[in-house]
Amino acid sequence: MSSTASAIEVHGLLKSYPNHVAVAGIDLEVRSGEIFALLGPNGAGKTTTVEILEGYRSRDGGSISVLGVDPANTDVRAWRNRIGIVLQSTKDAADLTVEEAISHFAGYYSNPKDVDQVITAVGLSEKRKAKGEQLSGGQRRRLDVALGILGNPELLFLDEPTTGFDPEARRAFWDLIRQLKNDGTTILMTTHYLDEAEALADRLAVMTNGKILEVSTPALLGGRARAKARVSWSENGRSNLEITDSPTQFVNQLSARIGGEIADLSVSRPNLEDIYLEMIGEKV
């Protein structure tokens, strides 16, 4: 096995459909062992990009390397044995139980995970005898993830993994993804949830209109770290707001002036969602 620093390398990727350009020449690198999130509004070209990388679609131009090979030009079985795919909403295998589906698909891989361990890892132990059609949206999604990680993939694709989850299920799911990362799995995910990208991603890219606007980390995206801080507090029954480059200094002065506890004090930077909306709002 070739061990490269990049799990995925994309140069100048192009994909057009008869009436529009879906992917307009993007460059992208996903490093081995990281969680990389691809963000963008609907129609930005995320799914097309990911499906080209998964070997589902052909491309019109550019070069790609996924785990060291070009999916369009490789021994597909051996390559697919090394990747895991969690597609957007699925409804297949409705008449199979969780256990049946997972044990069946385990038979496709050279080195599958233990069926019971996978069921436990995705939190479906109590539903192992339930059929696909009897699962809730979140449970169904966890079955999809179970089938995606079953083959011990080096690289896992997650397309909108937590759509339809309640907050508790989402937290549990995030723990599962972090566990996979700790085990050495590289993960490329698309998501609509900025808090999810912030919680999970080592790095992320924002895509609109088939182009990548920026590749960064959740903390630095869109100049977030340099953005002015908002300091708000209450004084004499009135709420106040100060937007400043030096919040620490400002709070020190405030504290010296007021003395004691400052009512309703809060210091905040724009959250990832604010930055993201500003980015795509400008460019769309």
Binding site: M1, Y56, N81, L87, K91, D92, A93, D95, L96, Y108
Partner: protein, 265 residues
């Protein structure tokens, strides 16, 4: 890192076959419709047409041969041409394509499903035919050998053509409306519901292009007395021609299936 070996295509195919049978059996309506429908038709036609169509040959005897032949077309061609588009819609095929399982293992699974459900139908038809309508079964090996090769060629051609035709319906929901009329017309034209030689000759000529006519003729060679051969269009069973036509359709089906099979809409 040493990669352990991938499971073979055949191994995955057989495991898919068992899974397909399990899923099929869980859909009660399709079990009843597919497995018992031929028997229901036999009960209806057997009760309506009680005459002999030739000395010592009841219509039921003729009809059982036709129903076995058309069962091959129903379970192979019709069922697959309807269920594969549904599996394309619900993501079954897309998921499979994302795994190391090759397409051929999917096809092997389908062939196993068709073989098992066809075998159950034949057994049910023969049991009811013998018990209720006094149908006689062949007593020598020659006829059973004919039965086996006609069944196998029918199974193969019907399955492959069903996979090939599954690319035609645009969606799973519309598939039945596209596929079922073709099968019903072929059944009428190929001598399943009527004695073939009593059909207008243009119908006979049209039917002779397609496999079902040759399958019914092959099954008549198995289940009707040899004396009846004189009443066939050619005055004989034409076993060689049956093998030739079904063989050509099998090969054509194989290439069509490979060429036209689509994983996604």
């Amino acid at each position: 890192m040493s990669q352990s070996k991938l499971p073979s295509t055949l191994k995955i195919g057989i495991s898919r076959g068992f899974l397909e049978i399990k899923q099929f059996m869980r859909q009660r309506e399709s079990v009843v419709f597919t497995l018992l429908f031929p028997v229901l038709l036999l009960l209806i036609f057997g009760s309506v047409f009680k005459d002999e169509i030739a000395p010592g040959v009841t219509f039921s005897q003729y009809f059982v041969a036709g129903m076995i032949a058309s069962g091959l077309v129903n379970t192979g061609f019709q069922q697959l041409a309807i269920t594969i588009p549904m599996e394309r819609d619900d993501g079954t095929l897309k998921r499979l394509r994302g795994t190391p399982a090759p397409a051929s293992s999917y096809f092997i699974g389908k062939i196993i499903l068709v073989f098992v459900s066809m075998s159950i139908q034949v057994i049910l038809l023969l049991i009811f035919g013998v018990l209720l309508y006094g149908i006689t079964l062949p007593s020598d090996a020659t006829h059973w050998i004919t039965f086996i090769w006609v069944m196998l060629l029918g199974l193969i051609s019907s399955t492959l053509l069903g996979i090939a035709f599954s690319s035609v319906p645009k969606s799973g929901r519309g598939a039945s409306a596209v596929v079922s009329p073709i099968v019903i017309i072929l059944q009428f034209f190929s001598g399943v519901f009527f004695v073939f030689t009593q059909l207008p000759s243009w119908m006979q000529n049209f039917a002779a292009i397609f496999p079902l006519k040759w399958l019914t003729q092959g099954m008549r060679a198995v289940f009707l007395p040899d004396s009846f051969a004189a009443q066939e269009v050619a005055g004989s069973w034409e076993l060689g021609k049956i093998a030739l036509f079904l063989g050509i359709w099998s090969i054509a089906g194989f290439f069509l299936a490979l060429k036209t099979f689509r994983w996604e809409k």
